[in-house]
């Protein structure tokens, strides 16, 4: 941590002012989640992973969103049943840009919505019987499906259905993995618990119960990409670099992922984890159980990419280390050209970030590479260890907000007037109407990839097109 941002702005005073609007009880609770980063701090000084207060617009989702939307949903050669009423599957249907290659409806199902469509009678009498039938019908209509997951919605846990028993019986019968995921939306305080539950299911129902594919020959250079959801093709733009330095990516979790890749993961020499929050559990498990080390890396922006490539290469032999240097050098001219072109248009611009599990820290240096300043950042569903990992990315004086409510974020932006807000679709139009450039940092605003060197060029272009579009200059009528 160096220098300081928000110089001359009374950010602490701002926090107090924003908190004033709350009833007393909620004010006390919210105060713990807002802070201004101090020099020499060990973490960001905010409480996290705590229940959202009722009656506010939290941007958080639920455990189902964490499991179906993030961890399991993007596994393309399995069918994921949204088990319960129709809505959860409907809203999460094809909304997340987890790119994949496959014949949808034949050997891949990533942009489809399968549900048991619970009716009142299923609530009253239980839905296990129906679930049996759903799985049979899926297997008949989609014979090339390699596995099935059951993503539980709220009522399943409340009425006490035994989806584990159904999963066991059906796995046996079909000879394919059928996995039950207890990711009911009321569990936990955000999508975060859904990630954890989904990881545990991979542990218990894939690693423990299935046999890895035959014929797989290990090499000393086998690695995995874990926690890259291939938004707009991110994982591919990452994979290409790992392959170029001479590593072999034997599995990609979970964008463009397959069941076989999950099963073969324990054969890796090292697990490379991008989104720590959503996948650290399974990486830790593999370390304990199979002795596979794991490493967190960051492929946003050239500084972090180079640092990460070197860190990764350091785990291997000299050839790989030399290759890493070659690859960094190879892309440097392109990176230099991108920075030369875009930095003059972006230098000194202030950014406020509010996203999910890794980007509030990972993306910071990509902005720094373009000469931009982060004046505020925060997570939707981070835990304490995420905030510990954050403080060295951001500068003294940065405003930190955990599970920020729409009310707080609007006030912060209104009073601090950054040049760009980087958040999600629910926030986008609020700030655009205020006259502020905006980028969606969950979906890359339907652009991307943003990871890797190829992605950095797109990232730079997108920040420029957001900030320097003429629309922001014609907001006010001349009359």
């Amino acid at each position: 941590m160096s220098l300081s941002v928000n110089e001359g702005v009374d950010v602490k005073g701002l926090v107090d002012k924003v908190l004033e609007a709350y009833p007393e009880k909620s004010r006390k609770r919210r105060a713990k989640h807002l802070n201004v980063l101090e020099a020499e701090a060990k973490d960001c000084g905010v409480k996290s992973n705590i229940k959202s207060i009722p009656g506010v617009m939290t941007i958080r989702g639920c455990a189902y969103a964490g499991s179906k939307g993030v961890v399991w949903g993007p596994i393309k050669d399995m069918i994921h049943i949204s088990h319960g009423p129709v809505g959860c599957g409907y809203y999460s249907w094809s909304g997340r840009r987890n790119y994949y290659v496959g014949d949808t409806g034949v050997d891949s199902w990533g942009t489809m919505h399968f549900t048991s469509d619970f009716q009142e009678k299923d609530i009253v009498f239980g839905g296990d019987k129906k679930l049996h039938k759903v799985i049979e019908e899926i297997n008949e209509l989609f014979p090339l499906v390699n596995g099935i997951s059951i993503q539980s919605e709220c009522p399943i846990g409340l009425i006490g259905d035994d989806i584990e028993a159904v999963a066991r019986a059906k796995s046996e019968e079909l000879g394919k993995p059928v996995v039950p995921v207890r990711c009911e939306g009321f569990r936990g305080v955000s999508q975060s618990l859904g990630h954890h539950i989904a990881n545990d299911v991979i542990r218990d129902w894939i690693f423990e119960k299935t046999e890895p594919k035959e014929g797989f020959v290990s090499t000393p250079y086998d690695v995995t990409i874990i926690g890259d959801y291939n938004i707009g093709g991110d994982a591919w733009a990452s994979r290409i670099l790992l392959e170029e330095i001479g590593l072999r990516v034997i599995a990609q979790w979970s964008g463009d992922g397959t069941l076989a890749e999950l099963e073969n993961t324990p054969k890796a020499k090292v697990n490379l984890i991008h989104c720590y929050r959503s996948m650290n559990y399974i990486a830790r498990h593999m370390e304990e159980k199979f002795g596979i080390p794991w490493m967190e890396y960051n492929f946003f922006g050239p500084s972090q990419i180079a640092e990460s490539l070197r860190k990764i290469a350091a785990l291997f032999d000299d050839t790989i280390k030399e290759n890493a240097e070659k690859v960094i050098a190879k892309y440097q001219p392109m990176v230099d050209a991108v920075i030369a072109k875009f930095k003059p248009r972006l230098e000194g611009k202030k950014v406020m970030i509010y996203v999910g599990g890794l980007r509030p820290r990972h993306v910071v240096d990509a902005y720094h590479d373009l000469g931009m300043e982060i004046v505020g950042t925060g997570y939707e569903f981070a835990h304490n260890d995420d905030y510990q990992r954050t403080q060295h990315y951001v500068k003294e004086g940065t405003l930190i907000y955990d599970d920020v409510t729409a009310f707080e974020l609007e006030k912060f932006v209104e009073l601090m007037r950054p040049d760009l807000v980087a958040s999600g679709i629910k926030e986008k139009y609020v700030f655009q109407k205020m006259g502020l450039p905006f980028r969606q940092m969950h979906s890359w605003d339907y652009s991307g990839p943003y990871h890797g060197y190829d992605g950095f060029a797109i990232f730079a272009r997108d920040m420029d097109l957001a900030i320097n579009n003429p629309v922001w200059g014609i907001m006010k009528a001349p009359f």
Partner: protein, 519 residues
Amino acid sequence: MSHPVSQSADKVIDHFTLFRQPEYKELFERKKTEFEYGHSDEEVARVSAWTKTEEYKEKNFAREAVVINPTKACQPIGAMFAAQGFEGTLPFVHGSQGCVAYYRTHLTRHFKEPNSAVSSSMTEDAAVFGGLNNMIDGLANAYALYKPKMIAVLTTCMAEVIGDDLSGFINNAKNKESVPADFPVPFAHTPAFVGSHIVGYDNMIKGVLTHFWGTSENFDTPKNETINLIPGFDGFAVGNNRELKRIAGLFGIQMTILSDVSDNFDTPADGEYRMYDGGTPLEATKEAVHAKATISMQEYCTPQSLQFIKEKGQQVAKYNYPMGVTGTDELLMKLAELSGKPVPAELKLERGRLVDAIADSHTHLHGKRFAVYGDPDFCLGMSKFLMELGAEPVHILSTSGSKKWEKQVQKVLDASPFGKSGKAYGGKDLWHLRSLLFTDKVDYIIGNSYGKYLERDTKIPLIRLTYPIFDRHHHHRYPTWGYQGALNVLVRILDRIFEDMDANTNIVGETDYSFDLVR
């Protein structure tokens, strides 16, 4: 594995072209052959072909349990949408919080607008002890922070399964001074495992009216000359509600739209964010009990509300998404009858211009076969208009469609020679429609953005005319109702037909004899 750098600062390429570069194609191939352990190309091709057969269709239609790509959402989003059409109203969704994030996202993606709603954020402890405390604290927070004029409470399936009592909870919260005793907090129970978003819409309209009008029957309510209009769940509400207001203005009718989202879902960008804008004034909602009649634009969105309104002594009338010439005729005649005013001359002119446009274009429409899917009322209105154009609705499909709806659609189809190959499919989904499109082909599909997968698989062009439209911009700002709306719909269909015609005739030296400049 060295390869040239395809990316450059001069011409930044993104996913559209980046992944077509040779190095990425090789990467996909390596991943597939070495690590995915997928099925052989032959096997995939075989199964792919099989999914397009009559045999597969039969299996597909025989399924009883799994629902695949349905054209319905769950109740709460309909209720939330209805609530957002009232002045200064904040929907308060009682239950687990993820649901609200989904509803807000969904509506935001369609309208490209902010969408405000709060959640009571119930978790495990609430599942055990009930959500009363969440309601008490939640209403207090919502009231203090977002300063609404009304908070409309609705439930998710969680609150319904554990049996939370909204009426009692709201009273309790008022006793604890979460909101003032006289602050309006209407509510609706909207279990996601009953009906769909259109039922949720109905429940909330009824909930709001019950709040303002009282629960007891009152046949003696004095009536005035006002006419109420309920639009129903409508993705084109911004354009359509404004068109309805314009029509009422031409008539000189005093009209109250019960739940008007048109301004709230279309606020200007001028440097100021408006969390609430427009909407049916609360005073007007209260006064609407004195209207002489209420017209519903979508009968399947309003059965309970209309029944309730009828009990208040009002005349009621219902339509099925009045698109097209006769659909608009019927609506205008009803407005004339109820108001005692003639149809304005301006509207007669508009009618004539619309008919003129249809006459100009009829050769391109006559006999064209269409599949239509979406909500029950949309499917009906759209089918009627197609037949009016000389086109043929062939597959009409709605996951929310009931047996009654199927019969109603069939009756409409049977009444026209253009409906003779038409069949209604209630309770079926888009995977059923895929089978129908392969086994009994049509020329065009009319539906929403989810149809783009059907378009890709079947190569049948898709025309997006109903909710949700995520992958095209701004269509909802133009009406589809009234004569002006019909003209918009006509142009949208014609444009797609002409584009298709050009795309099919543009091979130089081969098919370009038909690549005509004049169509």
